[in-house]
């Protein structure tokens, strides 16, 4: 299966604004050609470190929002959490700085044909791509309930505009500094039942996705996940970002999460540590 995002372009963008929100940086970039083809769930790959960089690989960020014809031209917005050197470099870039970007890349969230009840579930900055999705779903007539969780309030990403888009928003923090104290999974089951959710979209760390999936599976609710695997290229040429996924033919293969993902049907992912024994060509 090869599903390369045919709309991807590589071009030069300019930072219009870089603002801190809580633990994250909200960066708005003016760039031609990316918003034009972007769909909720797609990501971009950004070069870091400038021309003399000793960081040869691009960094991957989910598109938070994008707009082809804003008053500032074509724009793409991302939410950046400082992790290592590359993301730290990015958060230091000031207005007017140039960024080299490839995108939009990867799969996007499938949109149901009928107006159904859906839940969007975001862990930390994983909430970023879900609000644009919520807007698309609302326009389709869906009811959208949001559940956003993080370790602490500074890591909750729930922008005001996003809150307005959804029918309800529930927040959980592990330290109790915002919303309900605890984890997403502590409140998830009640939320799914109360709102008669028929489809879940989730984005966040693998541990969270797995915990959500266990509940989704038990309640027989469809679950679309957006995964975050280490990526060296983001365009399908290196084979670093693979996950075990069951194909329509029933065979489990290690597929590239940059082109066959990051959005994957939770039903098709094999939720195991390491390479499952039934994987095609497993030899270890």
């Amino acid at each position: 299966m090869i599903s390369i995002n045919q709309r991807a372009v590589t071009s030069e963008g300019k930072i219009l604004s870089n603002r801190k929100i809580g633990a994250y940086h909200h960066i708005i970039i003016e760039i031609e050609g990316i918003a034009e083809g972007a769909k909720p769930g797609n990501f971009i790959a950004i070069s870091v470190g400038g021309v003399e960089s000793n960081m040869p690989l691009r960094r991957i960020f989910a598109i938070y929002r994008s707009k082809a014809q804003s008053k500032y031209g074509s724009i793409v917005e991302i939410i950046v959490a400082e992790s290592g050197k590359g993301s730290a470099w990015l958060t230091r870039q000031i207005e007017g700085s140039t960024l080299y970007i490839t995108g939009p890349l990867g799969t996007s969230f499938p949109i149901p044909a009928d107006p159904i009840n859906v839940a969007i579930i975001g862990g930390g900055y994983g909430a970023a791509p879900l609000f644009d999705l919520a807007e698309t779903l609302k326009n389709k007539g869906c009811r959208v309930d949001a559940l956003i969780g993080a370790a602490t309030s500074a890591k909750i990403f729930a922008p005001l505009e996003g809150k307005r888009t959804v029918n309800s928003i529930t927040i959980t923090t592990e330290d109790g500094s915002a919303g309900k104290k605890g984890r997403i999974t502590d409140v998830l089951e009640d939320l799914l039942k109360e709102n008669q959710i028929e489809l879940i979209y989730s984005c966040g760390p693998m541990g969270m996705l797995k915990a959500v999936h266990e509940i989704a599976e038990r309640l027989s609710i469809a679950h679309q996940i957006s995964v975050e695997e280490s990526m060296a290229c983001g365009i399908g040429i290196c084979m670093t970002c693979v996950l075990p996924i069951r194909g329509d033919d029933g065979i489990v293969r290690m597929l590239r999460s940059c082109i066959d993902g990051p959005v994957i049907d939770g039903e098709k992912l094999i939720w195991s540590e390491g390479i499952p024994p039934e994987t095609l060509g497993r030899h270890l």
């Binding site: 991807a8 590589t10 040869p56 040429i237």
Partner: protein, 308 residues
């Protein structure tokens, strides 16, 4: 007088000397959305094995200063599926194709060579005997003169002279010219230099090896001086054997270094991860540099550092 940018490796002619590196362009299709593959000298496909292979555990990569480690472990669909789906597509796209093969035994290399006979549109076979991503380092055929020779002999016999054979060697040996000598005597028409160097990263927080496969191959700008040295040494000893050079090339000037050391063509690997257009950009820069040095052709620059 117009500048001649073409190159040839053991009788196969390429319009320019910039190739992709095996394992850094998948089977070509993924890059084709960015530019026409015909713009490249050739696509070198990901090393293919006889049977489907899942590769090693994740994480499979770690960025290092000016480089990266990978431990992919030769993931691939197996030769039959590769020929049917990937190779046929590549050939029909009009791209020049170098097929890279990798086996677990001498016989497997022979079987792979046999499967590739009679396919129109292959320009050369690159024989990867130097992949560091195998569980048993003893399998790195390019680390032992006798096994390196046995593999190339098996490939030569089974190919029946249909395509030029390029043997891809590992820099992780004491004297690479000894291995080169063995494979040349066994019938290699050209050499690919260099594969990645075996490396390792330990996570300073968990104190565990970072890669799922524990060790991985080091590539990128960090290894370029090793590539230049290796190509220089081998070209000095075997000036008539064409070399496909690679290792950390990310600009036209980097490529020119490898050519001056003795490479007739240059493969681009890790640089394509940072920029899908790296091959195209490097190709343009190299051509401009060669012209500005007043070389009438690429061929005139090959190995020039040995005369200066």
């Amino acid at each position: 007088m117009s500048f001649d940018y073409s190159t040839s490796i053991a009788g196969s002619v390429f319009s320019n000397p910039i190739f992709t590196a095996s394992g850094c362009a998948a089977s070509g299709r993924e890059l084709a959305q960015f530019f026409s593959l015909k713009e490249l000298g050739a696509i070198v496909t990901k090393s293919i094995m006889l049977k489907a292979r899942s590769g090693r555990d994740t994480p499979r990569m770690a960025e290092t200063p000016s480089g990266m480690l990978n431990s992919i472990g030769l993931q691939g669909p197996g030769i039959d599926k590769f020929i049917e789906e990937d190779l046929s597509w590549l050939i029909s796209s009009g791209a020049k194709v170098v097929v890279s093969i990798a086996g677990e035994s001498v016989d497997e290399y022979g079987a792979l060579a046999r499967r590739l006979r009679g396919i129109k549109g292959i320009s050369a076979i690159e024989v990867n005997i130097s992949c560091p991503n195998v569980e048993n380092r003893g399998q790195v055929f390019a680390c032992h003169p006798a096994s390196a020779r046995a593999v190339i002999e098996s490939v030569r016999i089974n190919l029946g002279g249909e395509y030029p054979i390029i043997a891809k060697l590992s820099p992780d040996v004491t004297d690479i010219t000894l291995i080169a000598e063995e494979v040349i005597n066994a019938g290699a028409d050209g050499l690919a230099l260099i594969n990645t160097l075996l490396g390792m990263v330990i996570n300073p927080k968990t104190l565990k090896p970072h890669l799922g496969g524990k060790t991985g191959g080091l590539s990128g700008p960090a290894i370029r001086p090793v590539a230049v040295r290796t190509i220089f040494q081998v070209h000095a000893k075997f000036p008539k054997i064409p070399i496909l050079g690679m290792g950390g090339v990310s600009s036209g000037s980097d490529a020119l270094e490898l050519i001056a050391a003795g490479a007739s063509a240059v493969s681009i690997g890790t640089a394509s991860f940072g920029d899908p257009y790296a091959t195209i950009k490097i190709g343009k820069e190299l051509q401009e540099l060669l012209i500005s040095h007043n070389f009438p052709s690429l061929a005139d620059a090959v190995g020039i550092a040995h005369d200066r």
